[in-house]
Symmetry: C2
Subunit: 359 residues, 2 copies
């Protein structure tokens, strides 16, 4: 068996030990006589699995006690609606426009209330994180919304914006668990699992308790955070197996040394790739240096035929899913937690050879 290095933006690589354990436990989990997939979500066995996953997440991220951890469905895309339906209590919020996912979040929020776009990087294909002019921000806004890491464009906030008393809400889907984060600086964080956390089909929301319970009247019960908070994510059947795999990923992360250790590895991987891009006169990174993501690295050659050739030959060499998003073009290497350093080294070695052969 030859596992490929998968640079997909998501769903994406999972740690091999996690997959091996999931494989071993598929037919019978422990001595339960059942697969985790078969367990009643109300059973003692499954109750332990979901509680263990939440406890590990709280430990690894140092989530303060006054935050709820919710396992939800519908991906980040449904959060784009749930955030305003639950948090836009007076009817207005500030948003930063840093790419397609922020744009979609803005579109959904506009259905609920008044959206104030305080900063944007649309002028340069979202290739940088804009400064946020303090005077553009509304100190009375219900919340302040950012997409922390922009998967498509390869940009990331380098520090948590100071929003004063306005709760900061962040879509952290593509940087979740990649480095330590001070949860107390946020009103709410949410992340689709399918990058650094587990399989597609579960989204985790971490919400300060005082922000729960103020949803618009008459919204679907399933869209109210209170529904899920009051029922420990068990109002209806949660995506039980996906949550189990998330727990396995957290065990792996903890065994590596937690988020500080993970961040060091991620910085090493990103440096290998960015240093090469900065030294190359053939490949070029598309993002401004002070806005670079640790997770998603878009780059171009500037010749569409050569880029096609690169992607094709890389795939043949076991380096897959390197095609960039159509809005940026070129290539994109997503180097999430589960991508080993060797994978990035293999990519850079391949790029060097391609540069030599095709310059």
């Amino acid at each position: 068996m030859a596992r490929v290095y998968n640079f997909s933006a998501g769903p994406s690589m999972l740690p091999l030990p996690v997959l091996e354990r999931a494989s071993r436990e598929m037919v019978e989990y422990g001595s339960s006589g059942q697969s985790v997939m078969e367990m009643s979500h109300r059973s003692r066995e499954y109750g332990e699995i979901i509680a263990h996953c939440e406890a590990l997440l709280r430990e690894v991220m140092a989530i303060p006690d006054n935050y709820k951890v919710l396992f939800l469905q519908g991906g980040a895309s449904l959060q784009f609606s749930m955030v305003p339906l639950n948090l836009m209590t007076t009817g207005k919020a500030d948003y930063v426009l840093t790419g397609q996912w922020a744009k979609k979040a803005i579109e959904e929020a506009r259905k609920v209330g008044q959206v104030n776009v305080v900063a944007s990087s649309q002028d340069k294909t979202y290739s940088y994180i804009p400064n946020i002019p303090r005077e553009a921000c509304d100190p009375q806004a219900d919340y302040f919304y950012i997409c922390y890491n922009n998967t498509i464009y390869g940009t990331a906030f380098q520090e948590v914006p100071d929003t004063g008393s306005v709760p900061l809400v962040a879509d952290v889907s593509s940087c979740f668990l990649s480095e330590p984060m001070d949860v107390s600086r946020f009103g709410m964080l949410f992340a689709g699992a399918q990058k650094n956390f587990g399989p597609a089909g579960v989204v985790v929301a971490i919400i300060r308790e005082d922000l729960i319970g103020h949803a618009r009247e008459g919204i679907p019960t399933m869209l109210d955070y209170k529904t899920h908070a009051d029922n420990d994510s068990m109002f209806n059947t949660p995506p039980t197996y996906a949550i189990y795999v998330c727990g396995l990923v957290l065990e792996w992360l903890k065994s590596l040394g937690g988020l500080s250790a993970m961040a060091a590895i991620n910085r090493e991987k990103a440096a290998i790739l960015y240093d090469y891009l900065d030294s190359s006169s053939f490949f070029r990174g598309t993002v401004e240096r002070n806005s670079r993501s640790l997770m998603n690295v878009p780059f171009v050659i500037g010749d569409a035929d050569l880029e096609k050739k690169f992607i094709r030959e890389a795939e043949a060499a076991g380096l897959v899913n390197l095609k960039g998003h159509r809005s940026v073009g070129g290539m994109r290497a997503s180097i999430y937690n589960a991508m080993p350093v060797e994978g990035v080294r293999a990519l850079v070695a391949f790029m060097k050879k391609f540069e030599t052969d095709n310059r």
Copy 2:
């Protein structure tokens, strides 16, 4: 390894060959070098998996071409809202109240428009399927809603109600794929996967095309069936792995001979259990004979201490999750597709012995 017979109402048993194959393919699917969990949902490999799953479902259920098959998230509970938000075009619908899930659907629909409850079995703890008086039905209703099989109470419609030109919408979560169903009689069917189809975290909706595209203005994009229909269930990342397992279940079902063969097995299993219940003076089924479900069989002894003892001793004998829902009490055996005939035989043998020992 001793696999238990799991009588859970859902999530519930999966066919052993499906679990074994999922285990084998967990680390690498085919020669892809990846787990299905790691595949980009936009990749060729995954595109084949989801297309294969839909094609098998269409084949097994003989779904007419003018119906869309959508793989969604949020469980049946989110469908309780999506149905009225999409289909209540003039603002009124007829509902039959046959239990807790129908009740929840009614509550969500009342947030959207006028609900006309045309029949109810609430008077006898939902232990029967009520007759639907034709004069109670509104020929101008936007749709007519039923919960086809009532998991908690063990009742099921024995035939598809004739609703004339009013589209029939049915929650078939707990009888999905248990027997042939004439899809053309319905405007829409939906089912949470976690009973007969696959892991929790995916819900399938089968909708006649002309019913799509009339959603309330301003609803969240994710709640509009058109969003998902126009994007082949790929508007955002679908629950990729859960859909893959659903495909494996369909392959198993097809290998058994499809829905007719499955129905024969299900009828055999149900007959073994109901025949014993009818012959016993110790155990008693709680459902009227002409309303019995093939999938969920609640029964009581009528002595709370003996019932506790039964559940405890059954579990020790490898017959698990037999506790009834708190609203009915006693016991409930859910005997979904993946429960082998031997499991039902083992249950009845255990019941006979328990009856002898405790009468």
